[in-house]
Symmetry: C2
């Protein structure tokens, strides 16, 4: 990455290459929740707590890096860390983004930013244009195209990308996102069409044929994912919902094309907090062994389902 | 504000009281854009630039505090400030929130956060529960009720509130938000119904009759604001779009009830960057006089239109 934040490559091409190298289209979410991390990294002292969380994040990155092409730090958990200064935890976010890229991982910053054009231009600076920005950013599309354009422009300039929220994986999403028009078209399909259109501009498409404007499509609704795959042929899907949120590898497979490309599946809690899962506890694995085992099994499970 | 972040009062009651005291339902957006602030606060040195922006923000707060009940710092502009560390500008955000509250201003943090429930709980910590959090937060409702509940719970516990995005003020909003069902109901009206329902819980309603769950309703669509006023009788509307975005005071009036309550109108660029407006330049006012004059006129213009 240069001083100007140029990554040297189109985001979609870089992501597909990383997936090819590691052999599975998976991503591990880095969600540092003080109540969930191993006790040895916690402290009653806020400064020591931050240092412990930083060490834990770095260790998790090193453990999963051989098995997965990408990680997805969830910025909410870093914003939530209280220390000297309200947003002291964001220094750890910045460090983790850099460290992950040094380990050869593609980094998807999960910040779900979104606003009117002028404000989106401000968000694009730290989250996509700066040298220490992640490779991609999740974005909320509620403002429509003029709210998305500044993020897309920043990605085009620096070789980065975005994933626009289309269908989310949470239980109450359907009440909002399934709102249908007279022809039975659902609201999330309407968003999907906007994403497909805005993301099909020549400057957004890599040599692999995919766009640097991707879509978030929850794994918990496989039938809908298949329909969205048709609406958005050039979008890479970022697929949350595997593991702790209930979706299986076969549910996730619905987001892929028949050649096994076109999506990347994320798991967060089921991997990084694997030491809390009964199956690993009963095997007497320590937290590192649990995370490694969970990352390996996750990558293998998705690779099998996609083939 | 106590150590636990309790503000000592219901958000809607505190906001209405502040509006009553200052005599006009207005809010000034604090959007520190290095390209727009007076030259005397800028510098080529990043550390001095941050110090200059911090001083400018503090001066703006002091200038507008006698005339307006509330301010709305836009966190994107603080996240965008690069210094030592990627998010160095957030220390200024934190300071400005605290300083504004010391000046008796209600502070609406404009961060438009939104995610699944577990992640929303993390965002609620720094943005609503911490002692140094603002009085209210703007929130994106695309995840539905389980993504809103953690924010609402945090507000109920601490006397804070949220404003959920319903109808935004930007040009391309209509393409997304006007999506209609077979009965002609639009998507933003569907969101409005969700907000009205979730915000009508007893614990959300203040003695004034309004909820601590408000709505963002752009001033650029007055006919739609009148309809939304009917759908959301207990919601306070946060109304962007006045001034630089093109809406007049009479457009804004559509968001109020006939008794003159129920909304607060925001202006950002037209007030804080008033020194760039021809009408103030031609009067040979300096930047402070321009901001003061613009704030006074803004407050007067809205008070007149609402009466």
């Amino acid at each position: 990455v240069s001083e100007q934040g140029i990554t040297g490559g189109h985001f979609a091409d870089r992501l597909l290459e990383a997936i090819q190298t590691k052999g599975s289209p998976v991503c591990v979410g880095i969600d540092p929740n003080p109540a969930m991390i191993p006790a040895e990294f916690t402290s009653d002292d806020p400064t020591e707590m931050l240092a412990g969380i930083s060490r834990w994040c770095e260790e998790v990155l090193q453990i999963v890096a051989p098995y997965v092409p990408a990680v997805k730090p969830q910025i909410a958990y870093f914003e939530a860390l209280q220390g000297k200064g309200a947003f002291a935890g964001l220094a750890i976010y910045e460090k983790i983004v850099t460290r992950a890229r040094e380990l050869g991982l593609i980094v998807i910053g999960d910040a779900k930013r979104g606003d009117i054009g002028s404000t989106a231009s401000a968000y694009a600076i730290p989250h996509l244009s700066a040298a220490n920005a992640p490779d991609a950013l999740t974005v909320n599309g509620y403002f429509g195209s003029d709210g998305l354009t500044p993020f897309i422009d920043a990605g085009n300039k620096t070789g980065r990308g975005i994933f626009v929220l289309v269908r989310t994986s949470n239980p109450s999403a359907a009440v909002i996102q399934d709102f249908s028009n007279a022809d039975g078209k659902k609201f999330y399909e309407h968003i999907a069409q906007t994403v497909a259109e805005i993301g099909s501009a020549d400057e957004c498409i890599g040599t692999c044929g995919y766009s640097n404007v991707g879509a978030v499509v929850g794994a918990t609704y496989p039938d809908e994912a298949r329909r969205l795959r048709e609406i958005m042929p050039q979008q890479i899907f970022l697929v949350p919902g595997y593991g702790a949120q209930g979706a299986t590898a076969d549910d996730c497979a619905a987001s892929f094309k028949s050649d096994g490309t076109g999506a990347i599946v994320n798991a967060s809690r089921s991997v990084i907090y694997a030491h809390r899962r009964e199956e690993f506890k009963s095997k007497k694995l320590d937290w590192k062994q649990s995370v490694e085992q969970a990352a390996k099994e996750f990558a293998k499970d998705i690779a099998r389902a996609v083939k």
